[in-house]
Subunit: 307 residues, 2 copies
Amino acid sequence: MIGLANIGCYIPENKVSNLDLIDKFDIDDNFIRNKIGVIERAIKEPEEKASDLCLKAFNDLLTKQNLDVDEIECCVVVTQNPDFAIPHTSAVVHGEIALPETCACFDISLGCSGYVYALSIVTAFMQTNNMKKGLLFTADPYSEIIDQDDKNTALIFGDAATVTLLDEEAKLKPLGFNFGSKGSGYANLINKEKLYMNGRAVFNFSAATIPVSVNSLLEKLKLTKEDVKQWYFHQGSKYIVDTITKRLALDSHKVVFDMYGYGNTVSSSIPLLLSKDITSLQSGEKILLSGFGVGLSWASTVLEKNK
Amino acid sequence: MIGLANIGCYIPENKVSNLDLIDKFDIDDNFIRNKIGVIERAIKEPEEKASDLCLKAFNDLLTKQNLDVDEIECCVVVTQNPDFAIPHTSAVVHGEIALPETCACFDISLGCSGYVYALSIVTAFMQTNNMKKGLLFTADPYSEIIDQDDKNTALIFGDAATVTLLDEEAKLKPLGFNFGSKGSGYANLINKEKLYMNGRAVFNFSAATIPVSVNSLLEKLKLTKEDVKQWYFHQGSKYIVDTITKRLALDSHKVVFDMYGYGNTVSSSIPLLLSKDITSLQSGEKILLSGFGVGLSWASTVLEKNK
C-alpha cells in the first residue's frame, strides 16, 4: 500500500516583515503575533514560477533521500497559480526533472484543502494502476495575486513549495479520509484580478466545519482524540488554529503551529510542518491532518506509522 | 467496481463556418473536410463560463437518466479554462447544482488526454473512498483563448462540455490504463496570452506515441486489436485520426470520427462520441479510448460492457 516516505521543502529566503506594516494597516504587535500568527512572509522572486518552487523543493528532497528519477511513475502538482493555464505545471516539472515518458502527470486545482485531498487522489490512483513511486508537489505562489493594500490578504499569505515522495514501501499511511464542499460559498475566496477574501466568512466556515469533519473521521475509523499523537491543521492563521483547538478541546501542546516566519502557504502549510516530523514518528503513532479553505472545501485524514 | 453509467453533453448552438474563411487563410474545401475535418466550430456565448457549459451538460444528463443529486459523493471538472483560477470550477458547479456538503470536489488540469486520465483518477478515488455515485465533467472553452488570425488554431477548436455519471452499478468499466508524458515538449502547446500550437510537432508526437501506447495497453491486458469493437481517439483533426488508424492498421469502419459540426473540443471530444454509444454497447463488448495533446500527455484505456 502506498504511503508517505519523505518530504522536501522550499521557502524563499526573501522575507517581508509585517512589523513594518503596523502604521499602514493600523495594527499592533499583538494582532501580528497572536491573531494572524505571521511575523514575516516568504516572497519568491518575481520571475520565479510555481514549477521553479517545485524544483527547489525537489532538490531539498534529494538531500534527504536517495532517489532514482527513472523509477518515478507519477508526478502531480497541486496549485491554483500554475506556470500557465495550459499546459499543467506537472508537465513543466516532468520536463525539468527529466522524468521518464512512462510517468503519469496531472495537476489538481485545489487550495488549502489540496494536500489532504491529493494524498487520497494520488495514492488511490497509484495503487489502482500498480505504481510504486510518485511525487506529489504543492506550490501556490499567492504573492502573484495579492493586492498589497488589502488588509484581509496582504498580511497573511507567503510563498513556498513541497514535494512528498509517495512510495509502496513507505511506513506512514493514510487510514481514511473525510471530504466536503460548500460550493455555495465559493465567492468568499476568489481570484478575479487579485485575490479577494471575506475573512470573517472563511473563518466562520472553518471554525464550524473542521471540528465536525474531524469527529466524523475519527468515528468512521473507530478512533478517539486520545489516539492522535499530533494534530496538523492548515495554517490559515493563529486564530483559526486556536479556535479549532478549543472547539475540539484538544491539548494545545499536541497541535502543531508554525507560520510565524513565512505565512499561510496554502496547500504547502501542512506538508511544511509534517516534513519536520515524518521520519521521527514511531511505530503505531497516528497523526491527524485537516485542510480547509478555497472552494469552500475541506479534507481530513489520519496517518499511521506502521512497523 | 465503479464504471460509466451515462453521459450528458452540451454543444453550443452558435456555429462559425470554416467555409467562410477559405479566402482569409488561403485554404480549400478539401483541406477543411479531409485534413482538419472541421466544417463548423461551436462557439459559446462570450459571457458563458466553463461552469455554465457544465450545467447545460448536466441538464442533458437529467433528460437521459434519473438522478438524485443528494446521492452524488464526488464532483470533478477537467479543464484548463476554468471560471476562475481560484476557486476550482467544480466548487462553482457544486454550488449551482446544490450537491450535498459531503460531496468531494476537485478540478483536474489536463487537456486532450484529460478524459481518459480522469476516468482512472476519479474511479480510483471513488473506489478507495467507498463512494457510489460521482459526476465527471469536461469543459474547456478554447474560444476564450484563440487568436482568430492564427491559422494553426483558429480553424480547429470548438466549445463543448460533457458529464459522465460514474456509478458502482454501471456496466461499462475500465479494464486498465496506459499513461505517459513528454514534459520536455510542453512549449509546443501553450497558453501565454493566446493559445500557441506547433501543429507539426504535436502531430508528429501524436502519430508516434499513440500506436505505441495502444499496443502496450493491449499487451498488458492480454488483448488483441480484434478484441476491440470500436476505437475512440481524441478528435484532434481528421488527419491525425486517419494517421493513427493507418499506423495501427485498423479497420477504419471501427474508428469513430465526428467533429465536422463542432470542432476539436479538447477533453470533451471522446465523451461526446461515447455518449451516442454508451447505452447500446452489448455485454462483453470492448472499446478503446485514447487521448493525447497538451503536456505533451497521453492516456489510453479499454472499457468493457459487463452483464
